[in-house]
Symmetry: C2
Subunit: 347 residues, 2 copies
């Protein structure tokens, strides 16, 4: 584990917890090492080391790409599972907007500002149709975001990128609302912000389709279903997409779901994407550039699949097999035997 240079102390606390878990499980202590350092070159050297067999990473596209490229250029390439950013588009379909636009605005504000907007699943783009209900929704969101107190970001580098993001979004779209309290820069505070643009501008300006890491989101006002689908198609790979709708909305916008299936790892309906549950059905991953490998999740029971590979044992006697493959199924695990799933012993 290479500690984030902005949080050496926090990394030591996490490292201690892992070391205790290693001891409690009776594993050799050297299965875990924590390395501290402020030099990016250290990450590259870890990925290039001949003994390294795989790497996981969370951070910027630039950082993830550098590690991916170094791993791919090795004499023996290794996988780098990098999670590199995600805009997490959220769609408010017409029926839902009319029925409960204000409630959605409240939920959205909570999701955008949760952890001061530093969740990788923060909804960074909200698409809906130009409609009186959209104006009411925007008005509600504006009130909530204005009241939102500035919050402390993880480190000054993130604050700097966030402020650059606000500037570039401000130049390309309209500011709907900002925290009414001024942020305290000494405390690395960031103001919450909502921007708005038309679908045509969103389609024209690639920067508006990129992530701003922090408590900001962009509303995209669409004129027609065709325009909304085009805007959805213009999105790259993301961790999540969220749809707010009614049953009638879902029938009318079935094509939108198909578009999203090609672009994201998790589709959330009538909810918010922030917060992930550690369970078998969680997929915290998505197509490039959300991650370097959309076939794997970094959260949930499936996450271990990044670091294992299959082996066939052909014709080995029972005693030479791993316990899980022996005739007696001691742990009563599910096994596929002659194409039938079973927990039984073999005879």
């Amino acid at each position: 584990m290479k500690a984030n240079r902005a949080h050496p102390g926090c990394a030591e606390l996490v490292g201690d917890a892992i070391r205790k878990a290693v001891a409690a499980c009776g594993l050799p202590p050297d299965v875990f090492s924590l390395i501290q350092g402020a030099n990016h070159d250290l990450n590259l050297r870890l990925v290039k080391h001949p003994h390294t067999r795989a790497a996981g990473f969370t951070g910027s596209l630039k950082g993830g790409r550098a590690l991916f490229d170094a791993a791919a250029a090795r004499p023996d390439p290794i996988p780098v599972y990098a999670e590199m950013g995600s805009v997490n588009p959220l769609f408010v379909l017409p029926g839902a907007l009319r029925e409960r636009g204000e409630a959605i605005a409240e939920g959205l504000k909570g999701s955008v500002t949760m952890g001061n907007g530093q969740f990788c699943t923060k909804p960074g783009v909200v698409m809906a149709f130009d409609d009186p209900a959209f104006d009411k929704f925007t008005e509600k969101l504006k009130g909530l975001m204005t009241q939102q107190a500035p919050g402390t970001l993880l480190h000054p580098g993130i604050l700097k990128s966030y402020e650059e993001g606000l500037k570039s979004f401000g130049a390309l779209s309209s500011v709907v609302a900002k925290s009414s309290t001024a942020p305290d820069r000494v405390k690395t505070q960031a103001e919450a912000a909502v921007f708005e643009t038309e679908a045509a501008t969103f389609l024209k300006e690639p920067r508006l389709r990129e992530e701003v890491f922090g408590p900001a989101t962009l509303l995209v006002r669409c004129g027609t279903r065709d325009e909304l689908e085009k805007a959805a198609r213009a999105m790259e790979g993301h961790l999540t997409a969220t749809v707010h709708g009614t049953d009638a909305d879902l029938r009318e916008f079935a094509a939108l779901i198909s578009i999203l299936e090609e672009r994201v790892g998790r589709i959330v309906y009538n909810g918010f994407p922030t917060g992930v549950e550690v369970c078998a059905s969680m997929n915290h991953g998505g197509p490039w550039p959300a991650t370097t490998d959309g076939k794997f999740t970094s959260v949930g029971t499936g996450a271990i699949l990044r670091f294992v590979r299959p082996i066939s044992y052909q014709n080995l006697p029972d005693a030479a097999l791993p316990q899980e493959l022996r005739n007696k199924n001691v742990q009563k695990i599910w096994r596929l035997v002659d194409n039938k799933l079973t927990q039984d012993d073999l005879t």
Copy 2:
């Protein structure tokens, strides 16, 4: 599908079969295309095309590496599943060598010359202990290989590489036997060949640990268990490893199995690695340089996992879900529901 330039006609026959299968399954005809061409650049262009999402390849390390590098350098990297060669070491442990050395020699001859040695799982290195039983085994193999008639290789390029392989192995080790009939070069024929060396030479000469594609194999005479384990550790990633032994051998050489688990995708006991069955337990893959991604098999039901990725559907109503995830389990597939595997409908 990019046809092998050495077999345009064969590729057309395969293409016709696939087109018929596509029609029989009611799929759109454009899901399959066959491209002919003799230029390597065509492969690279296919892998670099923005619409290409993944690629599979079988061929040389040089060819596979070129495709892998091109795919990794894309603005949006894609996976290349390349199978690039494998030496498939075979170990004859002392008890088995004494009990049935001649039978193993017969099986080995069949496996080395099957398809004129052009199976990717052909055993290219055979390790055993210096022992009178090894001399008898070698004598038997020598007789069989001498009688082996030269066979036609897939194309002249393969014959050329094979003859270069024979030359380099001949320079580094001793020739035990060759086909007594001279090969007909006009018919692209290759003679079968067996070489022999000591473990010390095998460890010193990396070329002897590389694949010779064609009907040749190398016997490695080991002095001690330590030497045999060192030779096994010196091997890179392979598709398979094979062990011939008795129950007592397996107990004595448990460490060898552990060494092989780190290096191959399939461990065969008291059999031969040539021939793969299309089934759920097949793993036709292995660590670099056998393949570019040892996490996947290219044969068997698991092979489809190379070309799919997971999506979570969170909170979607039944009607908007794919059929496989709806409450009614129409196809009675196994599903994990609240951490329990079940074929039941949900209520």
